[in-house]
Symmetry: C2
Subunit: 192 residues, 2 copies
């Protein structure tokens, strides 16, 4: 299990055996059942997650309705995003499937950063990369229709469509479940 984490880290920096051991000793690993809520609206957690296996999602609860904004699957990193305003979280994080994660908080990160300065470098590279990807995703969302967004998702993350309930997918695409059903029917009709 650790190997997935080390494979991920090795994309950014090279670790010695000693450094790997320090990481393992931190007891980062946690498994969580489908449906487990990792973060509730209003909590002020600074936990970061890295998905080793499974799928987690972030969502807002607006007028009693869940609005899913992101899915994180194997090798995805989720850092909470209320760094700026420092107000409590306005969103939830929960497990779509039984999952195995690493969980770290800012204290642990500070500790590791001070012991191994190259972690600082990894953090910078990672957040730059996440920022770039986030911008690309946002641009793509803004410049396409719900139908195009669905077709793009079919290309880029076909597994999600199988793994995730339709109503969560729909709100991720910015539409209602009924519209997703209709849209899928429309696409099938076009093909024939």
């Amino acid at each position: 299990m650790e190997n997935i984490l080390f494979d991920f880290i090795s994309k950014y920096i090279t670790l010695t055996e000693d450094e790997k051991n320090v990481l393992v000793s931190l007891n980062l690993f946690r498994s969580a059942k489908k449906g487990t809520i990792l973060l509730k609206e209003g909590q002020h957690s600074k936990e970061s997650y890295f998905v080793l296996k499974g799928c987690i999602r972030s969502y807002y609860l607006i007028d009693g309705e869940e609005k899913t904004t992101a899915f994180y699957t194997e090798m995805d990193a989720l850092t909470p995003h209320f760094v700026i305003n420092k107000t409590p979280s306005e969103y939830f994080i929960s497990c779509v499937e039984d999952s195995i994660l690493t969980v770290s908080n800012s204290d642990m990160e500070a500790e590791v950063n001070s012991k191994f300065p190259k972690f600082e470098l990894m953090c910078r590279k990672l957040s730059e990369e996440l920022l770039a990807q986030q911008r690309i995703d946002f641009d793509e969302f803004k410049t396409s229709s719900p139908e195009q967004r669905y077709l793009n998702l079919l290309q880029s993350r076909p597994d999600l469509i199988q793994r995730v309930p339709q109503h969560q997918l729909a709100s991720y695409l910015g539409i209602k479940p009924q519209s997703l059903s209709r849209l899928r029917a429309r696409i099938l009709e076009k093909k024939s």
Copy 2:
């Protein structure tokens, strides 16, 4: 003019006079007329911009139509986002108004980072902050209708609505100019 830049930097790290002088000696400052295109689709520039005065925007050209994805005004930093795929830019950057900018490329950044390691820290903090803000903006976009997005923009960046042509604003909101006109008329009607 330099002071705006130093004020911005001081939010992240503290600079000595020597360090400030090095920055000034780099000749970062450039002014650009309204309409100037700073980056064209297909170019492979690694320039970063920081807006001291004026307004610049990024946009895609899709089926002959401009799709504006972001506006950057005073104190905003724009880092190009094809860090990952390393393919040429798929979007344009141009000046909405006569603007004064600082322009830096990755070579210059590497030079400054090696001379003053604390710049590395600033870059990390900045990209973490930008990532957080980007996520918040994306979430807000996804969870609201065009009308709500317009009302939110009216709250959060009222200056944009004055400074920016309507058709650019419309595509920034993800709709057509005609729909923005109609939507504004609808809002006015509701108020009365």
